[in-house]
Every structure is written in C-alpha cells, then in structure tokens.
C-alpha cells in the first residue's frame, strides 16, 4: 500500500477532488486525483498570461472534456497520423494549433463544408470520429492565445529549430541577425533543418547575400511583410496570399532591392512553435507526460 503523502493530500483536498477525505484507499485516491481535460484547459487558461477572448477558436473539438488524461500530445495539426502517434505515445489529450475537421468551423460532420458534391456521410470524417471515440481521445485547439504570448512562441520555436537561438534580437524573436549566407544556401539549409518536402518556395535572387532575417510563422497578410521587409534582407514565412506578399517580394527583386521571401508552408512553420508549447505544458502540468508530434510536410513535388 502506498500511503498518500501529506502534501498530495492537501493539494487534492484543496482542489475539491476528494469528496470524503479519510475514507479513501490510496490507489483509488490517485485515480480520483487524475486530471481531466477540462481541468488541464482551465490551468492553461490561468497560466497563459493573456486575456482570454470571448470569440476564439481555442475550444474542445472532439471527445469528452471530463475524460481523465493519461498524457498530452501537442501538434501543429491533429491529422489521423498525428492522432495515431498520440495513441502510441499513451497520450489521450491532443492539443492542436490548426483545425481537426478541415475548416475553421471545425465541425465533426461535413455539413456545409461539402462543396458541390452529393449529400451523405463522408468516409474521412466518419473514420476520424470513430478513431477518436474508440481511443478515448480529447482534442482541444490552442491557437489564438498561444500566439498572443510574449515573446511570440511560434517565432521563438522556429528560430530555435533553425539553430538561430543566439541570433535573435533581444526585444523581438522575429528578428534574426546571422552570419552572411547566399539565399540559395539559406533555402537548402532551412529545407534540411525543418525536413521540408515540396512545400518550400522562394522568391528572390538566389545569389542574394542574406544576413538579416525576419520570421513570419503561420499565415500573414501584406501588412506584416510591408512592416518587416525594411528591417531584413529575407523573410522566412509560413503562408501568405500570393497576390500580396509574393508579388511584393517579386517587385522588390525587380527593383533591385536585396529582399527575398522563403515560404515554408503554414503547418510546417508552426511545428516548432507547438514543440515550444509542449515544453511550456510540462511546467504547467508537471504530473503528466507531454509529447510533441510534428506534422510531416503535406506537399511533395513531381521528380
């Protein structure tokens, strides 16, 4: 018999987990003391250090929030492959940056998301729901508020993954000053370090000398590129609208400005930031194991 420690007893009682302290058996006490997905999310909300928005995508997307959590997996996108890996790792709470059910609405059935096709069940939606239910998974999205933290954890994560931790500006992790390198070498370097397949695309003169680099992980509008370009030689971004920042970069190259754009894809750019989320969660939920599961680049190119 493992007697429960005095400290744990106080913690559990204070948390209101034990309805009738003194009559428990230690083993069942541990079981009762286990954290639910809802309790973990409540803790994240308390510890995030940002004001919680009323309109937000950060919500439960699948599973029962009352589920006792055995382990946590963070990921940029809760794909089927990621969910399978989470199960293998013993995690049943998946914390994802991007949607689970293929749209911002994140509805677990195709509903209005089916475009131009006949109505009826969708085999992919059905199978994903079944997998989640069968394995007792809970999926919670953590995007809006994770990005709001200072310094921006997605930029910090991306800089660290690219080996630029010591090159970050002290007051802005998006700004990197690294040893001078040619754009084509930089692009190959990034492709290898982030294990990118066909999702990397570059605008600019391959022979450009790059020293100052700006990071725009995730998806960004023209305003972000316009404000960052004056400070850097190249922007490493996730996703932009091609009629905005891509054409801006192309025109800058035409005008002879030493400005380049390296697009690595939205999800790939968010991978390291969700690794950073896993490291942070270990401090927020030290009782449970937390694993980061990277998403493979969705894209390839014909040979």
């Amino acid at each position: 018999m493992n007697p429960i420690s005095r400290r744990e007893f106080v913690t559990l009682t204070a948390a209101g987990v034990l309805a009738a302290p003194g009559v428990f058996h230690s083993r069942s006490a541990y079981a009762q003391a286990s954290l639910t997905a809802q309790q973990i999310v409540d803790r994240i909300r308390q510890r995030a250090g940002v004001e919680w928005k009323t309109a937000t995508v950060d919500a439960f997307k699948a599973g029962d929030p009352a589920t006792a959590v055995k382990g946590i997996a963070t990921t940029a996108m809760a794909t089927m492959d990621v969910l399978k890996e989470a199960v293998k790792a013993g995690a049943n709470l998946v914390i994802t940056c991007e949607p689970t059910f293929y749209s911002r609405a994140d509805s677990p059935s195709p509903g209005g998301a089916r475009r131009g096709g006949p109505a009826g069940p969708d085999a992919v939606f059905t199978a994903k729901n079944e997998f989640i239910e069968r394995n007792g998974l809970v999926v919670w999205r953590f995007s809006d508020h994770w990005r709001l933290r200072t310094p921006d954890p997605l930029s910090v994560g991306l800089a660290d993954a690219l080996g630029w931790a010591r090159f970050k500006a002290a007051d802005d992790p998006r700004l990197i000053t690294a040893p001078v390198i040619a754009l084509d070498s930089l692009a190959s370097d990034i492709k290898q370090k982030l294990n990118i397949g066909g999702g990397i695309r570059i605008v600019g003169d391959p022979r450009s000398r790059i020293q100052k680099i700006g990071l725009l992980p995730g998806t960004t509008a023209i305003q972000a590129a316009l404000s960052l370009f004056p400070k850097v030689d190249a922007i490493v971004g996730g996703e932009v609208r091609e009629w905005e920042s891509v054409e801006l970069a192309r025109d800058k190259a035409t005008a002879g400005e030493n400005k380049s754009l390296i697009l690595i894809g939205r999800v790939v750019s968010e991978n390291p930031g969700m690794n950073a989320a896993a490291q942070w969660l270990k401090t927020v939920v030290p009782e449970l194991p937390t694993t980061w599961i990277p998403v493979t680049d969705p894209y390839w190119r014909p040979a």
């Binding site: 089916r114 091609e242 891509v246 801006l248 969705p298």
Partner: protein, 268 residues
C-alpha cells in the same frame, strides 16, 4: 485626322463585347493607374501587373496593361496600405514616365462565358474538352493514371518549378476538378479524385483540403491536391483574353506579357 484610340475607348469595347451586363459595383475591375483619355499604342494582358511586366510591356510598346490581378499587392489596390513603402513610388514613377494605363479585368472575366481562365488552364494542362463531363463543369474524366504521373505531366507541360502536391503518388486517379487562382474547389467531393488549382490557404478556411488529403491517404482513400501557384494557374487564360481583345481592337497590337512563375525551389 484620325481620332486617337484611348484607353477609355478600349474599355468601352470590352464592356460592350462581354455578353453580360457591366456591374459598376466592382472594386476590382477599374482603372488602377493612368487616365482613360490616354492614347493607346499597344495593349498587354497579363495575370499580374508586376513591376517586371510593366517594364516589359513598356519595352514592347504597350501602354495599356490589362491584368487579371492586383497592381499594388492587395486585392482592393488600396494604395494607402502600400504607399509607405518606397517601392510604391518607384513603380508609379515608372508608369508615369512611360505613359502607362492599367485597367484590371477580374470579376467580369470570371462571369464571362466561357471563363477564359478555365479555358487557358485546361488548354495548358492538356485537359481536352472531350474529357469534360459537361461544358463549364470544369470536371474532367481522363484515362486512369497515377497522381504522381499526372503531376509530373502537368509540371512538364507548364514548365513550372514550384508545383505542390498532396496525396499518395501511387493513387489511381481519373476524375479531375479544375479550379483557377484562389477559386479552389474542396477535395471532399466523392465524385472527384484530384483537385487542380492555383492557391488556397492551407488551414482554418471554408474547407482545408490538404489536411483532408493527408487523412484520406492515411485511410487508403485516393485523393489528390495539386497546387500550381496563382500566377501559373491563371497566366494562360490571359492569352485567350489577349486574343479576344484583339478581335475587336484591330487598330493596335495586343499581346500577352507573361508574369511568369514567381518561385524557385532549392536544388537540394
């Protein structure tokens, strides 16, 4: 003396020949630079009114540029968004010096029948009309191939470098839904194996097809997603647009000035 042909005259002919009523509510299909009274010596159509396209149009003697997309790096061509960047002034100064007029044709081109963007893209991709399920369906049933072979064929035909494909390269496919530019169909239509289009946001939109394709692959369901890039996807249709304008504008030369693919990819 012959009255000079102005940019305004040509725009009037475009409106008259469209076959659909002109909608003045469009913010896209308007003059983006220069005066309607400017005498036109030559016309260049293009997918993007990039600085490089403006220069090459001027070199070719074309001072009316008819792009499908924006000139100032935002869809509304709102200059207040971009005027703080010195490049805006550089581009505008060049256009002023070269007596350039820019008139965008976007919304009406997509409403016109046929929509030349689809005609041009299908032509360039080798999607013959005999494969189209019905006129304007933009759905093609081709002899069965693999996703890998199809993507390789498209890449070769277009000479494009940065085509992006999601899906199993060995998946057997024959039913293609063609989109253009950002008008990219969702991939979960059960009657469709492959969606081919220009661009679309990866996630958090109306339908996130790349994630759906990854999950379909994981389940052994054949789905493919081929993104050509916005410029590559819509460039070809501007050749059809040039030919169409030429038919009712015999006084001046009309040509396509290609914007080209903006991207390159690492060798390793």
């Amino acid at each position: 003396m012959r009255r000079a042909l102005t940019a305004g005259d040509i725009v009037s002919r475009i409106k008259a020949n469209l076959g659909i009523p002109w909608r003045d509510t469009t913010y896209r299909d308007t003059f983006k630079f220069g005066s309607a009274d400017t005498e036109v010596r030559g016309i260049a159509t293009t997918v993007f009114c990039s600085f490089d396209v403006v220069r090459r149009a001027a070199e070719a003697g074309c001072n009316l540029i008819v792009p499908h997309e924006d000139t100032y790096w935002n869809d509304r061509d709102d200059v207040t968004v971009v005027s703080g960047d010195p490049l805006y002034k550089t581009k505008v100064d060049f256009m002023t010096k070269n007596n350039i007029v820019v008139f965008r044709i976007h919304d009406h081109m997509h409403s016109q029948r046929p929509d030349f963007l689809y005609v041009g893209s299908a032509r360039a991709l080798g999607l013959d009309s005999k494969y189209e399920t019905a006129p304007q369906s933009h759905r093609f049933v081709i002899p069965e191939t693999t996703l890998g072979a199809l993507a390789a064929d498209f890449q070769k035909r277009l000479g494009a470098k940065a085509i992006r494909v999601a899906g199993n390269p060995n998946a057997k496919v024959s039913r293609i839904q063609l989109g253009v530019g950002y008008a990219t169909p969702a991939v979960n239509n059960p009657d469709v194996d492959v969606v081919v289009s220009g661009e679309l946001q990866e996630n958090d939109g109306g339908f996130d097809s790349p994630e759906y394709v990854l999950d379909a692959v994981s389940l052994g369901i054949n789905k493919g997603w081929i993104m050509l890039g916005h410029a590559v996807s819509e460039e070809e249709g501007m050749l059809e647009m040039a030919q169409w304008i030429k038919a009712f504008t015999p006084e001046v030369p009309v040509q396509l000035v290609r914007a080209g693919e903006p991207f390159w990819v690492p060798k390793i």
